[in-house]
């Protein structure tokens, strides 16, 4: 069996259709999200620039950066989820299972508590460092527990890391009750403070992660047939797996640092896309990037309009939409 033979299992007509479909859907979702908010503007007025001064400022300074941030964060979380699922050969793996989110949560909490708002920029940095430590510790622990680096050991190590970081975070909060509201808001996810600056902060990380993961699809397809077979095809499974893990963690950390903890994106979106477009990671990774963007842009639209002018935390919306849908997929999958 050759690498090419393994990676060409996708039916030829599907990739092009799927990519065109998700790109078009994303464009539509973003247009809708930019047009709808505290006031609704027509797409025509938007595209021709015929807006009142207030509308123009609100859309340009608040709504557009928020929509773009939602698209970026959703895409990164979803692509990272797909990559994790490939690395661990487990469709239930996601950024939250491997200690990345818990580590980011602890890092951000530590910064909120210790910096006491003096250094707002410290929070995303804390989240980023925490996420890397979270996944890193899970990986090291998993490797130590299993000489072969088996996926079960890694996933269990991720759970152990998550439990530990969560416990430390809880203890930290217990000692600093006055920061509960701020930390809780962050834990539930937030896009409301999006700005061009916050976009600029994560854009470089997103770009690097997306480029790295763009090359990962072919490797993941090879890995999907088994480590021995992959080695016989000239791949070094452990090194490849580690490299993809780093890229996916970078993606997760950047997303989490910008928008807090938003669950289910990395789990649900790749799962749906896998059913629609097949199992090849060459296609699944880019599709997940766009699919995650669509999912989070629409979820954010719901979060800021459903109870307008009040907002529903974005993490609550993704859980409301994602959890039942995921349960439905599991039930359907089992019956099939």
């Amino acid at each position: 069996m050759t690498t090419r033979a393994v990676t060409d299992r996708v039916r030829p007509s599907r990739p092009a259709i799927a990519v065109i479909a998700v790109v078009l859907l994303l464009a539509l979702a973003m247009l809708l999200a930019v047009c709808v908010g505290s006031t609704v503007v027509s797409p025509l007025a938007l595209l021709t620039g015929r807006l009142s001064d207030v509308d123009a400022e609100v859309i340009l300074q608040l709504r557009l950066p928020r929509v773009l941030l939602a698209a970026l964060v959703g895409g990164m979380l979803s692509q990272a989820g797909a990559a994790y699922q490939g690395v661990f050969r487990n469709p239930l793996a996601d950024p939250y299972l491997l200690g990345a989110a818990a580590g980011a949560g602890l890092g951000a909490t530590a910064m909120i508590v210790l910096a006491r708002g003096t250094f707002a920029v410290a929070v995303p940095i804390g989240a980023f460092v925490g996420a890397m430590i979270g996944v890193g510790s899970a990986y090291v622990l998993g490797r130590a527990a299993s000489r072969t680096g088996g996926t079960a050991a890694l996933l269990l190590a991720g759970l152990a890391s998550t439990a530990f970081f969560t416990a430390v975070q809880t203890a930290l909060l217990q000692a600093h009750n006055s920061d509960l509201l701020q930390v809780t808001a962050w834990i539930l996810g937030q896009l409301g403070t999006a700005s061009w600056d916050s976009l600029g902060l994560i854009a470089p990380y997103a770009a690097v992660a997306a480029v790295l993961l763009a090359f990962a699809g072919r490797w993941l397809d090879v890995l999907s047939v088994g480590d021995d077979e992959a080695a016989s095809l000239g791949l070094r499974p452990e090194r490849v797996r580690f490299a993809i893990l780093l890229a996916a963690s970078l993606s997760t950390a950047a997303a989490v640092s910008a928008a807090g903890l938003i669950g289910f994106v990395g789990l649900v979106v790749p799962h749906i896309l896998r059913r629609l477009a097949g199992t090849s990671y060459r296609l699944l990774l880019p599709l997940s990037l766009f699919g995650g963007s669509i999912f989070l842009v629409l979820s954010d639209l719901l979060s800021r309009t459903a109870l307008y002018p009040a907002e529903i935390p974005i993490g609550v919306v993704t859980a409301f939409v994602g959890a039942p849908f995921f349960a439905f997929l599991l039930l359907v999958g089992n019956r099939q």
């Binding site: 908010g37 505290s38 006031t39 207030v54 400022e57 609100v58 300074q61 608040l62 709504r63 950066p65 939250y96 299972l97 989110a101 818990a102 949560g105 006491r116 708002g117 003096t118 707002a120 759970l159 998550t162 439990a163 969560t166 217990q174 009750n177 006055s178 920061d179 509960l180 509201l181 701020q182 809780t184 808001a185 834990i187 539930l188 937030q190 409301g192 403070t193 700005s195 061009w196 903890l261 669950g263 800021r304 109870l307 307008y308 002018p309 009040a310 907002e311 935390p313 993490g315 609550v316 859980a319």
Partner: protein, 308 residues
């Protein structure tokens, strides 16, 4: 899954926190007066009989702590929670008002414990230990706040001083409102609890103060949500064009007039243009005790100095 469990816990925590700030209390009233005991006090946990004048009080509510000292019961206060930072001489401990530990509280051998909400099963645990507890939740109106002060006066044998404290507070608030005259009437106010746009509606004691000035609270539009402290969107705040912004997140989150002015799309908000931004201590803006009068005074000053 651990993560999911944490998310639910966080959601519950947020709800409890916001509900704690927002819940409508069964207004405590005094059932008896003077220094003669026993007395009965109506609190959120029902009508409570206090057999003798308390000599060892533990307060797990920063607002109750401020009230106790304002009515001259500070001498009987033996321990307060870790958030009770006013007055400075209050015996601050590591006791938590959010997640209280019954054994730790009992260790101070109190004959009266004041709590804001019954969390962690504290009320039941202390009741089993035959320790008297008064639950005094967040007041949603100034009248409810005054009623709590009077209830504490009754419960501690300091009712005359409690009446004086309430009268002093009423006088100070009335003076603040009088100074502003009609200049606050119709002004739109945005009361910011944190930089993610959580805000206070009129269904809070702070909202009650804005009503006295005739101001319009922009957060009241969020009627669909249960909390009295809804999270608004930045878009809504900007489009509402508040004339006055009150920042109750200066300590927690380092917010200031300069920081608000730099937020995207805020430059043309009337409050920013006229620099009518009240940057006040988080504690003063969130505690419904005697220092609520300071909030009223700060608002009055901002309104008077506002250049229309």
């Amino acid at each position: 899954m651990f993560t999911r469990a944490r998310r639910y816990a966080a959601a519950l925590l947020a709800t409890a926190l916001i509900a704690g700030c927002a819940q409508t209390p069964s207004t405590p009233t005094t059932g008896s007066s003077g220094g003669a005991f026993p007395v009965t006090v109506k609190a959120s946990n029902g009508t409570v009989t206090i057999a003798a004048k308390p000599a060892r009080i533990v307060s797990l509510s920063p607002t109750a702590t401020e009230m106790l000292y304002a009515i001259g019961a500070g001498g009987e206060v033996k321990a307060v929670d870790d958030q009770s930072d006013f007055p400075a001489n209050a015996p601050r401990t590591k006791l938590s008002g959010f997640k209280p530990n019954a054994e730790a509280v009992a260790g101070y051998k109190p004959d009266l414990v004041l709590i804001q909400n019954d969390t962690n099963g504290l009320l039941a645990a202390l009741t089993r230990l035959k320790i008297t507890v008064l639950v005094l939740p967040s007041a949603t109106t100034l009248e409810a706040s005054y009623a709590q002060t009077l209830a504490l006066g009754t419960a501690t044998g300091h009712l005359p001083q409690a009446r004086q404290a309430v009268q002093a507070e009423k006088t100070k608030i009335a003076a603040a409102v009088s100074t502003a005259k009609d200049r606050g009437k119709g002004l739109k106010v945005y009361h910011e609890v944190d930089p993610t746009y959580f805000s206070a509606t009129s269904r809070t004691f702070a909202g009650d103060i804005y009503k006295l000035f005739g101001m319009v609270n922009i957060a009241d539009a969020a009627k669909a949500t249960a909390p009295d402290y809804p999270q608004l969107s930045a878009e809504f705040v900007v489009r509402s064009a508040p004339d006055v912004i009150v920042l109750a997140d200066t300590q927690c989150c380092a917010q200031s007039a300069a920081v608000v002015a730099k937020r995207p799309a805020f430059a043309n908000v009337p409050a920013v243009r006229t620099n009518t931004i009240v940057a006040i201590s988080d504690d003063i803006a969130s505690r419904w005790g005697p220092r609520a009068a300071d909030l009223a005074a700060a608002i009055s000053t901002a309104i008077v100095n506002r250049k229309a």
